[in-house]
Subunit: 318 residues, 2 copies
């Protein structure tokens, strides 16, 4: 992958997505090649035209000669077993361009897994020599916002009809956005929603000198893309000033997330072992003889049983 | 709370929401009073009229003399520190009714916390003598779907304009829904979307004899509410047939979630201890001297250090 093989890259992404047990070893080797390339998050309600916007943004980066990776995050796919982003087809214009790599990512496994996988796939793209990563989500929800934590510039895309979305998601949108884009701005109400957003933004305490812009676009016709691109560049330049503090915090959070993920999967594996130290307890819970809270409490209260679980999960070679 | 104090109930809900350290003891005591009352999930995109529908559904249950609890789940609130469901106001018509209890629930703390808290608050309402719990979410996303796992009848509310939402969320919606409601059905396109949904549903393998209905409503005028109510009752009756298997599986999952939650919070507490066994490792990661994967690996590879962490997290009295 480090020598540029797309096939190796695709295979490593699958390894990460499937939460294979040697991820830590893999990521440890990759990490030295991670430079910290710009990572953009693009989120917004379904139908806001995110894919069209991303399509145009890819083209804009390609004009600059940049190699672009795209992660299309689809939180609905744990239900289907595969990604279902029909919108991908719209990005086919870049399908034959070796400077563009598009990958859908679904969430398998337990809570937080999608954010974790996204963060790792970003590092793979970075180590593989790409110049920028775009992370696109399907909708706006807690998972999507959580995935956006991986990005350093978050673009929230709305449309003139998004009044309801703004109302219900107000606090979340304000917290997550570094840049608002009102797409399909040739429709009625674009100026009104731009004014509303600016009004909301004035109520928000300024973050160390970054004034969140609200850009109007008609992505389907390429209008406003240059302005959005310039604002993204401006935000990246602004970030550079505080880069070291930010990166230190990211490293700390990465470390905690990696440890928690590993701890969680080890514990879960041991709980489910048919002959494991918790098997009898779990059977009694399932059969209704013991309530799940009493069972959990007895586990944490009985040093002998807890030692067995902890030993099996952490101290024995797995 | 068990003797009917609304004040005690409200306080216990806050205890659960704040993830206080004695939740397990609290829930253990409550559990014996949990009967397994009907728990309905109501989800759908913002603007679909979920709150109005819930408002009507509450009234319908009140007609039957049932005591109704409502949990309004707001995944955007970790960003604001408080729930921001302006829609709540619409439910004020029940504000003075002692047979109705409405509570917003935000997600604080780490991944999965919201589903966990929701599951526990349902149990509190159950033990407190309510007859039915309605769980309403703000939007449709992975978190919302995850919260819906707590419900036994899930109602997905759409509007005639939800074509985009259906397209992007197809697999997730199909998997999660026990009942579709097309609200605002007096608008153009209601029949079309009903037909589309029915078409999708025909492609889905039937789940042991439950045919997912698609009900048209105009909640603002009370139209279709009786039919939706009847379908909910029908689904609950259908569930009763497989209740024991289902409950056994729920108990097992509850147990695993409780253990994982406790393990995660204990580990995180120890990692962040300034003088703890991982403090030096974390400082080196933050300062950039050690990559987070190497640090995590060294933790899991060095028996001495791992023992210290595990002891501090699990084997010493906290």
């Amino acid at each position: 992958m480090l020598s540029g093989s797309r096939y190796a890259l695709a295979r490593l992404i699958s390894t990460v997505e499937n939460r294979s047990t040697d991820i830590l070893q893999l990521m440890e080797r990759i990490y030295g090649h991670v430079r910290g390339i710009p990572t953009l998050g693009i989120t917004g309600p379904p139908g806001a035209g995110k894919s069209t916007f991303v399509d145009r943004l890819i083209a804009r980066y390609r004009q600059e000669g940049k190699r672009v990776a795209v992660i299309a995050v689809d939180p609905s796919s744990p239900f289907s077993g595969g990604a279902i982003l029909g919108d991908r087809i719209r990005m086919q214009s870049h399908a034959l361009d070796a400077g563009v790599f598009i990958r859908s990512l679904g969430s398998r496994g337990h809570f937080g897994g999608l954010t974790m996988s996204t963060s790792e796939v970003v590092k793979l793209f970075d180590a593989a020599g790409f110049d920028v990563v775009l992370i696109e989500t399907v909708g706006v929800g807690q998972t999507e916002f959580s995935v956006m934590e991986v990005a350093d510039t978050v673009i929230v895309i709305l449309v003139p009809e998004s009044g309801d979305t703004i109302q219900t998601m107000k606090a979340g949108l304000l917290e997550v956005a570094d840049l608002f884009v009102v797409n399909k701005a040739d429709r009625e109400g674009a100026d009104k929603i731009q004014a509303e957003l600016r009004n909301m933004l004035h109520l928000k305490p300024a973050t160390d000198g970054w004034q969140i812009p609200v850009v109007l676009t008609v992505a389907s016709r390429g209008q406003g893309i240059d302005e959005a691109f310039d604002q993204i560049q401006a935000h990246q330049a602004w970030l550079a000033a505080s880069a070291e503090t930010r990166r230190a915090e990211i490293r700390r959070r990465d470390f905690q997330a990696i440890v928690l993920e590993e701890v969680g999967s080890r514990i879960l594996r041991v709980i489910d072992l048919p002959e494991g130290p918790v098997a009898e307890l779990q059977t009694r819970v399932r059969d209704g003889g013991l309530n799940p809270y009493s069972a959990a409490l007895s586990l944490f209260r009985e040093p002998a049983r807890l030692s067995q679980l902890v030993s099996a999960a952490f101290l024995e070679p797995s």
